[in-house]
């Protein structure tokens, strides 16, 4: 009898597991490579409630997979801290949808002299930091100088600043030894462009008290509390200079590296906004009535980078071209990106200033790839090492190696961790193909430093005058002239096949129907989201 009962129990459990596994497949985070038919229609922004008026009150919870290593102003060189203090510290400048640098909340306008050696920022008048310190040109100077001293990301561009001339309380002139377009981009970025109270910055602090003492800005929120690697909380600034703003009472940023748990937290209502989600999850969330979209004004191109060893098979341009013709980029983007990703044919997308419409895409053509290999002396194919890092997408990696294998290019995979991949890229170089797991080129010209600067991508194929061309590009004041030079560099990379682009993506985010006017990355990465105007309908 006991044995019978036990047997029945086992069968019941096994049966229930079997039946549950045969149900409707839920969305998984393991994308397939089968193409979809049409790109997903991005749901329109959540409808506003009756009367179309933003509502006051509520707490916005945002879950990110980025770490919260510390909280503090950029001027305190907190690792990866700048993004997490956006609610408190406002920007000098912004970047518009076309990538142009425009006035921001703290510097509504700016001028650049015709020779590019003077950048004059016209600051917003009559506003104070939350500790009562007036926001003036002196505050900007203190912040920028401190950023440079502490080698904050983006501060290398300040090396060209010979002096900070305070013309009056609301006008500061940066006198440069040489024009550098990156400097304007950095001032429009979340790093050196954020301005904290100089009074607060001068307060003696310890690592435990730095967040509370130094995170003082002009923004719509005030720092409340934080736990490293866990969360940071902000509360409404009742004296914010924009009247009637912000709408929210509180804003909380939480970190969680596990996407499955993040999705469950979002679906259960613990958070109204999550980011860096997978396309397949974005589709599922959309079907559930949530709003998903890619970051406006921000996209990244990923590319394969052949080595520059003259003895390598990749020294032959035909082999490099063969690699590009072997990749079915459209199918990869459809299968993995589910319509959210795009196919790049050059190292710029149509909305980038450097895009050259005259460059013909190298469309998928495995036969041509094989022919090129045969012409290069590899009729039976060849084997190449591909080094990539563990953080990259495995499905894309699988697709790339598969397509290459079908054209006779066999890949020997070398998976490196974060430390080694960085050393490979910047110091030791690599053999074969380098495939970065992280984002590469973006419509932000500053990201080109990944490939353009001498200290990065050390083994990339470059013409002898590459560095001179690069220096000339970033020293060009006129936007059109600069874009012409950018196009020229894109053309060189295309002709030399020194970078083989295969994917253009943009960070995907999701919000529920309660969240409105988030404005994520609408002003480039300088303004991650519009803290002042975002509101909740519940």
């Amino acid at each position: 009898m006991k044995r019978l009962l036990f047997t029945i129990l086992v069968i019941a459990i096994a049966g229930s597991l079997f039946i549950s596994s045969c149900g409707e497949p839920e969305s998984t985070t393991a994308p397939t490579t089968s193409p979809t038919t049409a790109p997903p229609s991005t749901t329109s922004a959540p409808p506003s409630p009756t009367g179309d008026q933003p509502r006051y009150g509520g707490k916005l919870v945002f879950i990110t997979n980025q770490p919260i290593l510390g909280i503090g102003p950029s001027a305190d060189a907190i690792p990866w801290g700048a993004r997490n203090v956006v609610p408190v510290l406002e920007q000098l400048l912004f970047q518009d949808e076309d990538g142009n640098i425009v006035g921001g909340p703290l510097a509504p306008s700016y001028d650049v002299s015709p020779d590019g050696l003077n950048i004059t920022l016209h600051l917003r008048e009559g506003i104070n930091f939350t500790d009562g310190t007036p926001f003036t040109a002196e505050a900007v100077k203190v912040n920028l100088q401190q950023c440079y001293e502490k080698k904050v990301i983006g501060s290398a561009d300040l090396a060209s600043v010979e002096s900070y001339d305070i013309i009056d309380d609301y006008t500061i002139r940066l006198v440069l030894s040489k024009y550098n377009y990156h400097l304007l981009q950095s001032l429009a970025g979340v790093f050196i462009g954020q301005i904290a109270s100089p009074t607060a910055l001068a307060l003696p602090s310890t690592p435990e008290t730095l967040a509370e003492l130094h995170t003082v800005g002009t923004g719509p929120f005030i720092f409340d509390s934080y736990e490293r690697d866990s969360y940071v909380r902000y509360k409404r600034n009742p004296n914010y200079w924009q009247e009637g703003r912000p709408y929210l009472d509180e804003l909380e940023i939480r970190t969680n590296p596990d996407l499955t748990v993040t999705l469950m937290a979002f679906r259960s209502g613990d958070a109204q906004w999550i980011e860096n989600i997978d396309p397949i999850d974005a589709l599922a969330l959309q079907d559930e009535g949530n709003f998903t979209d890619t970051a406006e004004g921000l996209s990244f191109i990923h590319g394969l980078v052949p080595d520059n060893d003259p003895n390598s098979p990749l020294a032959d341009k035909r082999v490099r071209e063969a690699i590009e013709y072997a990749l079915n980029k459209q199918e990869m983007m459809d299968g993995v990106g589910k319509g959210y990703y795009r196919v790049p044919s050059q190292l710029a997308m149509p909305e980038y200033g450097g895009y050259d419409p005259s460059l013909a895409p190298r469309e998928y053509d495995p036969e041509k790839a094989k022919q090129l290999l045969a012409d290069a002396g590899y009729p039976d194919g060849l084997t190449i090492t591909l080094i990539t890092d563990v953080s990259g997408r495995k499905d894309i990696l699988t697709a790339v190696t598969q397509y290459l294998a079908e054209s006779g290019i066999n890949i020997e995979l070398d998976m490196a961790d974060a430390a080694r991949i960085n050393a490979v890229r910047t110091e030791t170089g690599w053999e074969g193909i380098f495939m970065s797991g992280g984002p590469a080129i973006s419509n932000d010209l500053g990201s080109w430093r990944s490939f353009g600067a001498p200290y990065n991508a050390v083994d990339m194929i470059r013409r002898a005058d590459w560095n001179d061309r690069w220096d000339d590009l970033v020293s060009t004041v006129d936007t059109e002239a600069r874009n012409d030079k950018w196009r020229e560099m894109v053309r060189i990379i295309y002709e030399d096949v020194s970078i083989i682009p295969y994917e253009c993506d943009s960070p995907l985010y999701a919000t529920n129907s309660d969240l409105h006017d988030l404005g994520w990355c609408k002003n480039g990465v300088g303004q991650w989201y519009d803290c002042a105007n975002v509101w909740l309908s519940k």
Binding site: K2, I153, S230, D258, M264, D417, A418, A419, A423, T426
Partner: protein
Amino acid sequence: MTTFIVRRLLICLLIIILVSIMVFLVMRLLPGDPLMLYVSRNEFGDLKPEQIEELRHRFGLDQTYPEQYFNWIKGIFKGDFGLSLYYELNVAILIKQRLPVTIYLGVLSLILSSIVGIAAGTICALRRGKWIDTIVTFLANIGITVPSFWVAIILIYLLAYKAGLLPVYGYTSPFTDFWLSLRQIIMPVICLSLFPIAAVCRQTRASMLEVIQQDYVRTAWAKGLGERTIIMRHTLKNAMIPVITAIGLHVAVIFGGSVLIEQIFNIPGIGRLMTQALFQQDFPVVQSGALIIAMFVVVTNLIVDISYGWLDPKIRYD
């Protein structure tokens, strides 16, 4: 007994030193330069070689391995565990913030697993062959085999997402908000306790079965003593020696399991700290964290060994 304790302490010290050397060497044998990671995170790309050497000196990476090791050990005695490359913070501060969280989680798990495991094992032994024994043993076997991270996801799905009874993840100090802390800690503690409960239950059952067959227990039954008296006074203590050993070993299991659980539930404990430090090749954090965990494990096992003398006066260490 004193001699035994001193001898064991010396052995513990030796074990800790060996563990520290092993961790120290393994981290440095990993490919890649952690300084390059640090450099790439900041605006150091255009530094001159002498400036990079200055950074290397700041983090103590320009010294020989023996120098680095001895300087690190010397610093520990002064409370200086080194400077984290990833957090750019003194490691002692990080450990001070994170260790209490893991200890809190671990102690709760240990208490839960001990109480539930011993109780379940005792019941199984006393009701051997009955339906309760069958079910509990079956559940214990599942508890031994099922991965804790899988259970974590299932619990989150059922209790937090579907039922909405508990928060999905997170950690709040009990001193900040006790009830929120309690609700947030339930699932992580259950996940962390599953394996120890199952193992302790099985061990207790086996141990109790052996003891209750002894002559003196049969005599106690024959004398007409109550079940509770027989269990609590005559049986349990004698059966506990192997169980206490098992519980002591589970301290290491709980520390190891906390890595995954803290990651899933986003608990800022030392397990999560170690995971991130490992991926970033943050030597000082990994070394110091491993050292502290090793200390906990050896001290716990020492306490377990000493407790044998209390449990069974026949066991004396002279």
